[in-house]
Symmetry: C2
Subunit: 495 residues, 2 copies
């Protein structure tokens, strides 16, 4: 067997194990039966370990290096480069310490869950400090010449480092804080109490199905299930699954979350099938992935035209509540701006501030400017300063998101980078299709087609930078986002 | 790490890959989306290959041999013995030929599907001949001193070979053919046309849920899905899944099949969880597994007391049909005896004959007394002689079951061995619980408890022979089955 075939087969083996692990992850996180879920979490762990073993096989590393000396077609070159990068990073880490890290993450996760229940950060403080030290050390081992935090940022959005982010986020912070102040002083505010009226869970699930179908999600190439922490999982373009959380008194969150995870899933479903089993049939960067979730959630799911077409979903499922509500009332309430403590339930204006707070804290932690023990205090001060509200306890505050307690640092900024990209890409789309507002109401398939053509199909074949460049976007830029938010919310709140 | 731990870890790895493969098999066989199903069949293939690689690792073989020299507790001894047996069998086969065999099976399976569609045995004749030759050769390589067909039988019901089976099946054939004749001449025959009235598929699925819950299947430790070829899958005691086929004009088949696969699943669900990840948390033999499917399908699902309690399921789901039917009519039609061409839809009296035909043919094929090309003719002659009916084409005849075309020989007899065991175990249960008939109506949980205590919990920790012995059943014996069938059907048909 030639080297080329050997590498392709090895990559296929990695990919099959990864896909199986993803299916088992789904089994562990959805459905019923605590015993089953626990067992599948174990099986998933075994498969993930296998994936890493295969990715760090020295013979595979040599093979990739040899092959990359040759003339290769684009798909082969890109997939070998991708796997070599993985190989090099993972091989730079000490095996034993890396395995311990998995155990540390699992322990921290479980301590975080208890700490959250008991609303006491102290219970997980030591784990967190340890995870941060380990990540710093791994970054140092991988590359002595680049700041650890930049290396972490690189994993989620390659090439966008603190210098750039500082500048982007500063402008966004200034503008959104001012805009928030104007909105809060606006004379007319929505009455959103109807959104909190009980909406049976089965009907919310029906609503989720209807919304997903409306945006073009193919139900026969995925799955939808209820869960505690929403997620989407791009196992394969023919199996892009999503799990959503429903709460009886919060149908608004469920609808928007469905569109958010649905946006991720539209990306996952529309990657070219030719990339299956190469390792390239996944989103290109976390920032770009997030941009698509945000686009379908906020730029379609909060587009008035979309609801002109689809408000009847609510009215048919719950006529006793929604037949008394006008489209204008519904839409105003859907877009309500109101500072709140929980990031993933935040409105469009305060959402960036939630992300910026996390970014500032992460950056200071990795620059040794902040002690882990001071986190809850720093968190609360920032919430008061930027949003004017203060968590009553650690559960509503520093413990709300799992990321840090699972060793994920440098991830949060991609939520806001995604928002910035979403606005830039929206502008690019409007240049091609000036009738965007009509399409958002009448023909979402044209929008999905554009997205697929310019973004989704490529998977990891293009970097996010290349995707932007091919749409004549030379660089990440926060202005389109700020224009978009200002115009939209000045209009909604009649400022 | 000590050898003991090393072996346990290796076995756990095998088991996790097996469980993952089983989940992927489920994904490949149920649900929608042809692309997804095809991909998961590939991933399952990869995982299964991995399982075999792990099972035949020479280091693992040596480890097991060393460990079995030691004093071990029962669970360790049994699991090492089980894996060593697997190891020895698989290692006796030439690696390359064994891999080719997998490909041959896949090819034969696909040719079988076309042949069945086109009703032409010729299209798969060569594949079948090749699979038979390969199985003969593998058996020879594994053990020169035992007839190949006996070796194959051994895989499904250890220790029960042709000599024994000839004797058991001959008596069953004689008795059932005579009984069938008397039944066909009985003056009163049921009118079962109501079973063929349209019964919407969603309602059949609800019925399946209700029946499964009635027999004690825990819905939170399994899954039920529609499929084309019914099966059950014991991935883990907390995840015993089953897939059932529904046809609008055949609710009777769906109900009985649900109870059949449900019986398998009750076994799978009630294996001791202490055996998880040892390789022993599965049914002990195919014959015993089948006996439990048959018990719940035929000895509970065709028990009048059971339907006294549960006939209202039909009446509530389809009052327009079943409110006009009396329990007596329903029960008589459910137990109707009528020769038909398809094995898995057969009644209790002709079912053994379907199995015996397949057994006689297999035996002759492996003894070189029958040419593959003569199969359709021989099949049809036997159907005429034993059942008095003749298939109109190969699809209804020799092509109906997939087993042979997937290389499975020696498997069919376990269906009838299972029926024999079911009757023997029923007698043992009645000795312990003489109020069996009352329990079948009023307290199935007592029956499930007995089954779990004496059979299910042990998984592969006891052989079927040991399980029978501990219930004072010294040997397999067809008489309880014949007594059971004769009494029951003389009563039903008032002979």
């Amino acid at each position: 067997m030639g080297e080329l075939q050997e590498a392709i087969d090895h990559i296929q083996l990695i990919e099959h194990c990864r896909q199986a692990a993803a299916v088992l992850f789904w089994e562990a996180k959805t459905g019923t039966g605590i015993g089953r879920k626990r067992q599948y979490a174990k099986v998933q762990g075994t498969l993930t370990k296998k994936v890493i073993e295969l990715q760090t096989d020295p013979r595979f590393g040599r093979l990739l290096q040899n092959l990359l000396q040759r003339d290769l077609d684009e798909v082969h070159r890109k997939q070998f480069e991708f796997h070599l990068k993985n190989y090099q990073y993972l091989s730079s880490l000490p095996v034993e310490e890396f395995q311990q890290f998995s155990q540390k993450k699992a322990a921290a996760y479980s301590h975080w869950a208890s700490a959250k229940r008991l609303k006491d950060f102290k219970l997980v403080e030591k784990d967190l400090a340890d995870l941060i030290e380990t990540q710093k050390r791994f970054a140092y081992l991988n590359n002595k010449h680049e700041a650890p935090y930049n290396q972490l940022l690189d994993r989620y959005e390659p090439g966008i480092h603190t210098e750039k982010i500082d500048c982007l986020f500063k402008n966004i912070k200034d503008t959104t804080i001012k805009l928030l102040d104007r909105i809060q002083k606006a004379p007319v505010q929505p009455d959103s109490s109807f959104f909190r009226r009980p909406f049976p869970l089965e009907k919310q699930e029906q609503l989720a199905h209807q919304l997903l179908t409306a945006i073009g999600y193919r139900m026969d190439a995925g799955k939808l299930a209820p869960t505690l922490h929403p997620f989407s999982s791009g196992i394969h373009p023919d199996d892009a699954r999503l799990a959503v959380k429903y709460a009886e008194n919060d149908v608004k969150s469920a609808a928007l979350m469905t569109l958010h995870e649905g946006g991720h899933s539209l990306y996952n479903q529309n990657i070219s099938k030719e990339l299956v089993d190469t390792g390239l049939a996944v989103y290109t960067s976390m920032g770009l992935h997030e941009s698509q979730a945000i686009f379908w959630e906020k730029m379609i799911g909060k587009h008035k035209g979309f609801w002109k077409q689809h408000f009847h979903f609510f009215q048919k499922l719950m006529p006793e509540v929604y037949s008394h509500i006008s489209l204008d009332q519904f839409y105003f309430s859907l877009c309500e701006v109101k500072p709140s403590l929980i990031r993933y339930e935040a409105d469009d204006i305060t959402y960036p501030l939630h992300v910026i707070i996390r970014y500032e804290i992460e950056k200071d932690l990795f620059a040794d400017k902040l002690k882990v023990s001071d986190l809850p205090e720093v968190w609360n001060v920032k919430y008061r300063n930027y949003l004017g509200i203060v968590p009553q306890n650690d559960c509503e505050g520093v413990l709300q998101d799992v990321h840090w307690y699972f060793g994920l640092f440098g991830y949060f900024p991609s939520y806001l980078i995604g928002f910035i990209y979403a606005a830039q890409l929206r502008e690019a789309m409007i240049k091609d299709m000036p009738n965007f507002d009509v399409l958002a109401q009448e023909d979402l398939s044209a929008i999905l087609k554009w997205k697929t053509k310019h973004i989704y199909q490529y998977g990891k074949l293009k970097t996010s930078k290349e995707i932007l460049k091919d749409l004549s976007i030379n660089e990440i830029n926060e202005k389109p986002l700020l224009t978009y938010l200002t115009q939209k919310y000045e209009d909604i709140y009649r400022l």
